[in-house]
Symmetry: C2
Subunit: 218 residues, 2 copies
């Protein structure tokens, strides 16, 4: 069972599909999704509308691929983390920092597009499945940290997950946002929310950064 035809570029990684995605991200986030036509995307990418449709079945397929890129790398990293046996707080720090880094890097802050009413439907099922999987991995790490009582695990996970996602709000609110600082700050904040004492942070942070190679800004 491969990836459904309509959710990704026909020629993944080809220059043309990358140019289509970049143009679409710019337009969706400046003109709105409803206000953007595949014609306008083709124009901005400097190709024909036929060529857009050669790479993507529809405008929804372009949006779907942009959305998947805001979550897929974090899902893959989370899968690695979940199967590791080192300190769960350290792994949670790594996941939050990695995920924040991904959201900081998305072109035109495409993460905001997930709040569109248009993305709620079944057509974006794969995206929703990936997000659920990521969220469930966050929950496992919160739980495995042993710092949260059972009856609070869902509430704390909800807050940690939203804290990481709030990077998309900060990119909108703070024009001079400093990426590497946000990444560190997000990892640290998540640990405070699960009950880590402030004085424990430097050791956990340093270990997480070394073990998982998260060195923002270097």
């Amino acid at each position: 069972v491969g990836r459904p035809r309509t959710t990704g570029p026909a020629k993944s990684g080809s220059t043309t599909s990358e140019e289509i995605l970049a143009a679409a991200a710019t337009l969706f986030c400046s003109q709105g999704y409803g206000g953007t036509s595949t014609h306008a995307i083709a124009q901005l990418a400097g190709i024909s509308q036929g060529n857009v449709h050669h790479h993507f079945a529809s405008k929804d397929a372009i949006l779907h691929e942009l959305l998947l890129r805001t979550v897929r790398p974090s899902v893959e990293f989370a899968t690695q983390l979940i199967h590791d046996t080192t300190d769960a707080a350290e792994r949670l720090w790594a996941l939050c920092a990695y995920d924040a880094q991904l959201l900081m890097a998305s072109p035109s802050n495409t993460g905001t597009l997930y709040l569109l009413p248009e993305t709620a439907g079944e057509r974006f099922a794969q995206y929703h499945a990936e997000r659920n999987r990521l969220r469930s991995d966050y929950r496992t790490l919160v739980s495995d940290s042993g710092r949260v009582t059972n009856d609070h695990i869902d509430a704390v996970t909800g807050m940690v997950y939203a804290l990481v996602e709030s990077v998309i709000l900060r990119r909108r609110n703070e024009p001079d946002l400093h990426g590497p600082q946000v990444v560190i700050q997000t990892g640290d904040a998540a640990l405070l929310l699960i009950g880590t004492e402030r004085h424990e942070l430097p050791v956990i942070r340093t270990r997480a950064q070394q073990r998982w190679g998260i060195t923002p800004g270097l």
Copy 2:
């Protein structure tokens, strides 16, 4: 200098303008802003399109009023808090909890609409001015708490403000979100982010709730 004509209902508080706002919130958040016409709003509200235009100059004016309602009450509360002289951490707890409560209560989670590219422009200047004012009051409280060093005040304020706003993300992510729990959780989390030790929370929270009358769920 009164409120500009186009940003609020002509007859504030009238049943008809409230019905228009409720119908618009439902449609904007389910069909998208671009996909909603004043005709559709009139239909859902059960009135004529002419009557919509009697109350609001344009679709933008309706959106503007909905956006202002997600921020104006918090701005008013913040103004009270800023002029008080009790413990700043207590006042910050109160502002975060109040603001979270407001975002939890907005019909159809209208807070999400501020992420639309459409709202970035000058037409929504009053809304942006109110948000800047609120943000600046958050900054004052973070600073007055005496718990954050000068060179971290902006970064910590950015994170606290985004944490509160992330209530709109949680409403989207967590269908069974429990309002009163989120309100308390948000106040507590903000204090952890400014450096409050966990063992200090119960006293500050109780005082803040009593002094400012924030008793979610009661």
